[in-house]
């Protein structure tokens, strides 16, 4: 019979060591045959030599015991091995999951972060490091490092918003630009939410930071096209109006002046040509009527016989117009903030005209801030509802206008701009008043001007 150990458990690697140990135990039992079997059978075979048969029997018994132990051993090893395998699989899966997670972050260009409020520690995912242009091995991040990377124009604003969110335990959504150590500018969109402990205390903020640079740059070029379009369409509407006035009025005026000159000359001739002069004077009367008809038509145009009024949400119009000028704002480094009253009731008004008024006020605000270099450029647009109507305000932090100018800005052909026509605010006022509303301007305490208009729910005198 071959030695049981030589058969072995047949298991490779680390399991062999375990089996060897067990075998060693049973060996020691076997080696003790001279001592340990004796007390077991002293009475049966006292001093006599143990028969070989007995010995063989004994050995076989022992062997089967050993075999039994070995089997148990093998089972134990097997279960251990299975557990080990399971553990490895688990680890593999975890590793794979981590890889997928990192890959997902890479593909979506979204890094994640967590900021512990009590320890003040900030965690960044690898992708977050990559987006911010930092090496995760050699850089430590902190709240301070993070905010220092935000573009100087937006830093204070973003930090203030973040602190406000933390104080209130609110979600935090923000978009900002960062300046990477290599000088590259990236556009980041961040979402974060607070995590609360068992007893409701704020533990940490976890969030994402998505690199939306390409998207924004695409939008920027698209946006600038849109802004140009808006500018163009605005110029076209006002320009068309001017062209209509110019052409339609200048034509009869030119005829009128020429006829008057002709009449004078026919009368001064020798002999005077009364017939010719009379014809010229008749044409003068006709042309004067024509000019005054043109004016009446233009008045009707602005007065709004053609406008289509329907109940509209002014907030949505504010959003539309902001979207139109977004790239213009960005190009001029202007931060826009909209404080829109969520409980706004709809107001009966003409969408296109309202867009025109808002666009006009916003473009004026932008122009007022273009030359401002020092202070942050802020455009604040607000809507507020009261019992009788809606008030919209457009506030800039621009150069500001003095009181004398403010009193005149709504007058037609009054302008403070070198290339202005002085017609935008005059038309805005005409539109607002046609809706039964009122428009006015006030200087801000610090700098700049606020333009406000108010539309009543029930005031539509032009209809």
């Amino acid at each position: 019979m071959p030695h049981p150990t030589s058969r072995g458990p047949g298991k490779p690697g680390g399991t062999a060591r375990v089996s060897r140990k067990r075998v060693a135990v049973s060996d020691s039992g076997k080696s003790g045959t001279s001592t340990s079997p004796l007390p077991l059978r002293p009475r049966r075979r006292a001093a006599s030599e143990p028969s070989t048969r007995k010995l063989a029997q004994n050995a076989s018994l022992r062997l089967s015991e050993v075999l039994q132990n070995l089997k148990k051993c093998a089972a134990a090893i097997q279960s251990l091995d299975a557990k080990l395998r399971q553990h490895n699989q688990e680890q593999d899966r975890l590793r794979r999951q981590m890889d997928y997670f990192a890959l997902g972050q890479k593909i979506t260009r979204t890094g994640s972060w967590a900021w512990n409020l009590s320890s003040g520690k900030l965690f960044w995912s690898r992708e977050h490091f990559r987006i911010f242009g930092l090496d995760p091995e050699n850089n430590k991040v902190s709240y301070r490092v993070f905010f220092r990377m935000i573009h100087a124009d937006e830093r204070a604003h973003v930090e203030r918003e973040f602190q406000e969110a933390v104080r209130a335990g609110r979600d935090f959504d923000s978009e900002y630009r960062i300046v990477r150590p290599d000088g590259q500018l990236r556009y980041i969109q961040s979402h974060a939410y607070p995590v609360f402990g068992e007893s409701g205390e704020l533990m940490e903020y976890v969030g994402t930071a998505a690199d939306i640079t390409e998207q924004r740059q695409g939008e920027e070029s698209l946006g600038s096209m849109q802004a140009e379009l808006a500018q163009a369409s605005r110029a076209i509407t006002l320009g068309q109006l001017m062209a209509t006035i110019a052409h339609e009025v200048n034509q009869p005026l030119a005829a009128l002046v020429a006829n008057a000159g002709a009449a004078v000359r026919w009368l001064a001739g020798d002999p005077p040509r009364i017939d010719k002069a009379r014809q010229a004077l008749t044409r003068i009367a006709r042309d004067a009527n024509r000019a005054s008809n043109v004016i009446a038509r233009i008045r009707a145009l602005i007065g709004g016989t053609d406008v289509q009024r329907s109940p509209l949400d002014l907030n949505s119009i504010v959003h539309e117009v902001i979207a139109l000028v977004r790239s213009e704002l960005r190009r001029n480094n202007i931060t826009v903030r909209a404080h829109l009253d969520e409980n706004l009731r709809q107001v009966r008004c003409d969408r296109v005209q309202m867009q025109q008024v808002l666009l006009n006020l916003i473009v004026n605000a932008i122009e007022a801030m273009v030359t401002v270099m020092t202070q942050p450029k802020l455009l604040a647009i607000a809507t507020v509802a009261d019992v009788a109507g809606v008030m919209v305000s457009v506030k800039d932090s621009g150069v500001g206008l003095d009181q004398l100018v403010l009193e005149r800005v709504f007058e037609p052909f009054y302008t403070t701009k070198p290339r202005g026509m002085g017609i935008g605010l005059a038309i805005s006022r005409a539109i607002i008043e046609a809706h039964g509303g009122r428009i006015w301007a006030v200087p801000n305490e610090a700098s700049g001007t606020t333009f406000r208009f108010r539309l009543p729910f029930n005031g539509t005198p032009a209809e």
Binding site: A254, V257, A258, N259, G261, A262, R265, W266, R283
Partner: protein, 202 residues
């Protein structure tokens, strides 16, 4: 000053303007012809005496600037006074660069238009005189023989009879005969006049 055959052409699509300008121009004893479109002008106008064109810029179909280009392209030089209902500066600059006499924004003062018309007619008359003179010189030059043209060129270059004779392998006498004939046919009393006439041909 005002030749009786001078004509002012008015091209404007607005009938009020046409009537008024016809009356105004007529009141200073100038002939005037009105057209409602550039196409009509190109079809119908006849130019015998001095003339000028009072042209509206913006018209349906061909614009005033198109007409200006067309007249330049077909070598029908005529002084143009633009009148426009839009004070469009780039357009005015373009028109002036292309040789317009004046660009008047409607409504313009009647004197301004009449002054511009007078200036235009004078310029056209002068241009006509120059063109007639040039035609006269060309006609005379055409009467010279090939040999005489060759010699005339050398005279203008300042060569003496002796030099010309040597260069052309002719006798000095032959050159003298040709020279006299050249001066007669070109109507030049002296070499200076001949130089002046020949200059205008180039």
């Amino acid at each position: 000053m005002k030749p009786s055959n001078a004509v002012v052409y008015v091209v404007d699509d607005d009938v009020s303007v046409r009537e008024a300008l016809a009356s105004l121009i007529g009141s200073v004893s100038l002939n005037v012809e009105c057209f409602a479109s550039p196409q009509e002008f190109l079809r119908r106008h006849s130019r015998d005496g001095p003339s000028c064109l009072v042209l509206d810029v913006r018209m349906p179909g061909l614009s005033g600037l198109d007409l200006q280009r067309e007249l330049t392209r077909t070598a029908q030089p005529i002084p143009i006074i633009f009148i426009s209902g839009h004070g469009d500066i780039p357009m005015a600059v373009g028109a002036m660069k292309a040789g317009a006499i004046e660009f008047l924004a409607k409504p313009f003062r009647d004197e301004d238009l009449l002054d511009a018309i007078r200036q235009a007619l004078e310029r056209d008359q002068a241009a006509r005189g120059r063109r007639a003179e040039l035609a006269r010189i060309r006609g005379r030059y055409a009467q010279l023989t090939a040999r005489q043209r060759q010699i005339a060129k050398k005279i203008v270059e300042g060569r003496l009879n002796k030099q010309i004779a040597a260069e052309l392998h002719l006798s000095e006498n032959t050159i003298k005969v040709h020279r006299r004939r050249i001066m007669e046919r070109m109507g030049a009393a002296n070499v200076a006049t001949l130089v002046h006439l020949m200059e205008q041909l180039t």
